[in-house]
Symmetry: C2
Subunit: 383 residues, 2 copies
């Protein structure tokens, strides 16, 4: 049994207002190429296919197309589940027909208890679910946490284990002790959504989705694939990709990570503003990447975001590495100067400093109206 | 070839705020029963499966389930198209897999040009489309009207005609000279969306969707099925149902109408208020129907809507048959009395008279605040 383990496609997701559909297609194609070359027996997608319960129609068109390419054009069996970002009801459209071509897309606990057998392996496809779903399904009011609910589900699965096969669990959940990144929506406060790794000991492999870092766990048999794309600045330094899992008839596990990256990568540029806009510097850069700027400067820089955008067209945003330095370095003369500055100018500088972008013309109009109504006269500020 | 012709399911549609999912399931079941008893060869659904491009998830769950029952549980081939209310992109999810079980759901012009052959018949499934879609597909800038675009599509279909078969067109459009009802969204002004019946002369039968009246056309070979439910007051007197079409090998057409009706039917009650709330009258009525009230009264009736709702729990609304009578019948004494009435009382009576329902408590609070701010004192009104 040789299969690809991927997850968290989040088709339709935007970062800082930028569409990623093109990038999502690119990394998919890199994965498809490996699937074909390695002649894998199945593709596992462990939840969060879409980024939202009601995805925009371009996202629907893309995901439909990716599944057509995998399952209809290339005849790969697909083993997929819904994640916390997906609407189970919407995602299950087509499900009963998908099965005719060995495409299994599970969205309910009940479906997860009946294994899908491919080659030497029983696959259990457990969609994301809430404890309330388990309470209803098992008619058991004691299943009040994710931990208890998952335990109960696994108990039920183990009854279906056939010792002649390997057992693989596909699930979308947060295994205790794993590392989170910013772009994973925090569903729970205080770790209530955590599930102990030990619950899953009976499986030969647990193919997880939910966390975006492929190294989020250190358990060899229980792994997150990570995302195919970087979905937040905090993921900028992660190598994204998918895993190729092999399970011998004796249950021996091999795990190989395949990196992927889109043509336009998400990157952080760190430096002084003057350096970043210096031709000798930026000409050596891939300027159309999705760039996030971290400035070392401590002085104000007028119109910084627009000036960056002229050079880096897909700049996502910017921030100061050291915010506190800004005021500290102002000498008294500067402070005195501030007193004579027009309030609207002061606000505009401040806004740009904090937000990393200039006021829009609409915002500027609103600001001026507001200041007029307040009858602000420049009689010197407080110290 | 014996098939059911139905259309305009509008799954998820509400009337006057009332969900119809239960009713939609009921009439579907009546249709399914006939399909099984008559051992039909196919089910044709001529567009507007959903009521909205992004249907609520309960609607998605219901339509998914209806198709499972038709195609997976009962193995009926389905020939369906998207209508103007559907999102082609969203509806085509699952499409390539549906085909494996002879469920054909077409959402694009390109798909319509390749006939689906079942028994002695070639079916051409033409989804709702705009002239711009035809211009793009045929790369022909002259296709500026629905008429020209439909003509061009049919020309292309005719090239695929095989004289050994009957030819049936399934389409969602407005045939010139047909009767419209209120609940059909008016897409075009001035009849620009009309298509001449003669364009379709070459077909043995044209199974249409779009108009809700099963008798909207008088062409024997070109018919609307009508809806399975009444979707507006203007449809209250239509008998709803579907058509059973038979086409012999010689192209002989038989058309049989099967009525369906939900347990709670949409009905108009006409009468004087006093009669409608009289036990001897309403006890003979099916009071939980979706009732629309047309009042013959010319006098004001306080709290009319709430009083009707106590007797008819699913009352949709009410109106006066003769509005003009209301003021005319007021004698001078009544008019004088009005002058001494509290403005808030006057407004409340008026609102209820016009809107057919009482002010909500929130509206009443707002009204009182407003009147207070206006400092309205009752010094006698104008004449």
């Amino acid at each position: 049994m040789k299969f690809i383990h991927t997850a968290d496609w989040h088709i339709g997701k935007k970062i800082h207002g930028f569409q990623l559909l093109k990038e999502q297609r690119e990394v998919f194609e890199q994965m498809l190429e490996v699937a074909i070359r390695e002649e894998v027996d199945a593709i596992v997608v462990a939840g969060d296919l879409y980024d939202r319960a009601v995805p925009p129609s371009e996202a629907v068109a893309l995901l439909n197309q990716l599944f057509v390419e995998l399952n209809i054009e290339n005849r790969f069996p697909i083993l997929a589940i819904s994640g916390n970002h997906d609407s189970p009801t919407r995602l299950e459209t087509g499900g009963p027909w998908y099965q005719t071509l060995n495409f299994h897309l599970h969205t309910k606990i009940s479906q997860s208890l009946k294994p899908i057998v491919i080659g030497n392996t029983q696959f259990f496809l457990l969609p994301y679910f809430e404890p309330i779903d388990a309470r209803l399904y098992f008619k058991d009011e004691t299943l009040v946490t994710h931990e208890l609910a998952a335990k109960r589900v696994v108990e039920e699965m183990e009854k279906q284990f056939n010792s002649e096969y390997n057992q693989v669990l596909v699930a979308h959940l947060f295994v205790a002790g794993s590392l989170r990144t910013e772009s994973e929506t925090e569903v729970m406060v205080g770790g209530l959504d955590q599930v102990s790794a030990s619950i899953f000991n009976a499986f030969d492999y647990v193919a997880l989705g939910h966390l975006h870092d492929p190294n989020a766990t250190r358990h060899a048999k229980l792994q997150y694939s990570g995302t195919l794309l970087k979905f937040s600045i905090s993921e900028a330094n992660q190598q994204k990709g998918f895993k190729l899992i092999e399970l011998s008839d004796e249950g021996e596990l091999t795990n190989q990570f395949f990196p992927v990256s889109p043509e336009k990568e998400l990157r952080v540029l760190e430096g002084f503003f003057a350096d970043l806009i210096e031709p000798t510097y930026y000409e050596a850069q891939k300027r159309d990447d999705f760039i996030y700027v971290q400035l070392k400067d401590t002085k104000m820089i007028p119109d910084a975001m627009n000036r960056l955008r002229e050079i880096y067209p897909n700049v996502l945003g910017m921030e100061r590495l050291d915010r506190s330095g800004l005021m500290a370095t102002m000498n008294l003369t500067t402070r005195e100067k501030l007193k004579t500055k027009d309030p609207s100018e002061l606000f505009k500088d401040y806004y740009e400093e904090v937000m990393g972008e200039a006021l829009s013309s609409k915002q500027e109009t609103l600001l001026n109206e507001l200041l007029q109504n307040l009858d602000v006269t420049n009689k010197g500020g407080r110290n």
